[in-house]
Symmetry: C2
Amino acid sequence: MNCGIKMKVIIPVSPINSLKTRLSEFLSGEERKNLLLNMLKDIIKALDGLDIVIVSRDEEILDFAKNELKAETIKEKYKGLNNAIKQAFEEIEDKEVIIIPADIPLIKKKHIEDILKLSKNYDLIIAPSRGGGTNLLYLKSKDLIEIKYEGFSFLKHLEEAKKRNLRYYIYDSFLISVDINTPEDLGEIFIHGNDTYTKNYLKSLGIDVEPKHSSAGRFVVKRR
Amino acid sequence: MNCGIKMKVIIPVSPINSLKTRLSEFLSGEERKNLLLNMLKDIIKALDGLDIVIVSRDEEILDFAKNELKAETIKEKYKGLNNAIKQAFEEIEDKEVIIIPADIPLIKKKHIEDILKLSKNYDLIIAPSRGGGTNLLYLKSKDLIEIKYEGFSFLKHLEEAKKRNLRYYIYDSFLISVDINTPEDLGEIFIHGNDTYTKNYLKSLGIDVEPKHSSAGRFVVKRR
């Protein structure tokens, strides 16, 4: 399904067994898998009308992507996020790409509409994650920069853009910055994730949140 | 200094001795005070051209506000953030207000320009903090809602707007969402705070950050 936009959205997804280990004290392996699949459904909803390819080593994820999400898939040959994205670059024909992770369920269609509008005037558009990462990267052409998803990738990708005098834009979004790695992150879903698959799934597990103001975090995340 | 906009920006500031206790393991009392004053300078820079009133119980902060920041001041009579804001509402003439905290040094002039444009079409504009709080609240008139800065104030302020059928807008900004409460929060200043007073002050203390991916956080914040 494509509304005439010659662009591919690339979503790299880690294998289920390595999923969100920082959530393991809170969610079982099966629950973490279901959390991921629900997050992917929320993300796909925001990408409505765009061509999507999911890159993974995990057959279960690739099957889900094909059958449930109706996305194209690429089986990863090499380990590591940068390698997975470079492999996708080689295997897809499209030049124009957006790269997003599989754990930003608060991303909305409006964000993508903004990015598509901005893409007319910019070579590179980047949305930060918390902690200095990159939660959305648009490239007018996939060969414009070296992909550097490690360390403070936000700064590294900006450096790449400046080095090549690219027209770049920092897309400042709290909702896109929220990626789900720790129980604390789940709290943001309860605040901002109304009518998302992700929040509904977490509620079905009996999870709920309360405010907390301490150096150990801003939420008390509990299970009935 | 006012560019003809009949609006007041209210910045409530807690007393210095109660400041950022969650940073006390990392910064001395004097350093936390200087951090606050530098954050205020960054915020005032973003508010260029608007009338500002700083509300506090702390004489040192009120003096700094008058002499350094050239802001109006209100000496708090009652404890608590809601009381401080209600007192400000009573003492200022302006109807139209923006309320922001004193610890969001990544706020930029562009954000305020956006808010001023949006204010033509909305009664209430709200920007979330992490953890379900409110890091910016614009009210077309200060009597439109009940101020509720406690618990998940973001949800409470939205509820107030819905209850009264106000036209409200959620302003989605990562940079405004970053408030400084824990050493981990300082990391975001190093990534996104280039040429801010706040980052320069932290660097003068020999502080620096490195990436970290663990459930305990996304930064290693260190001091030489």
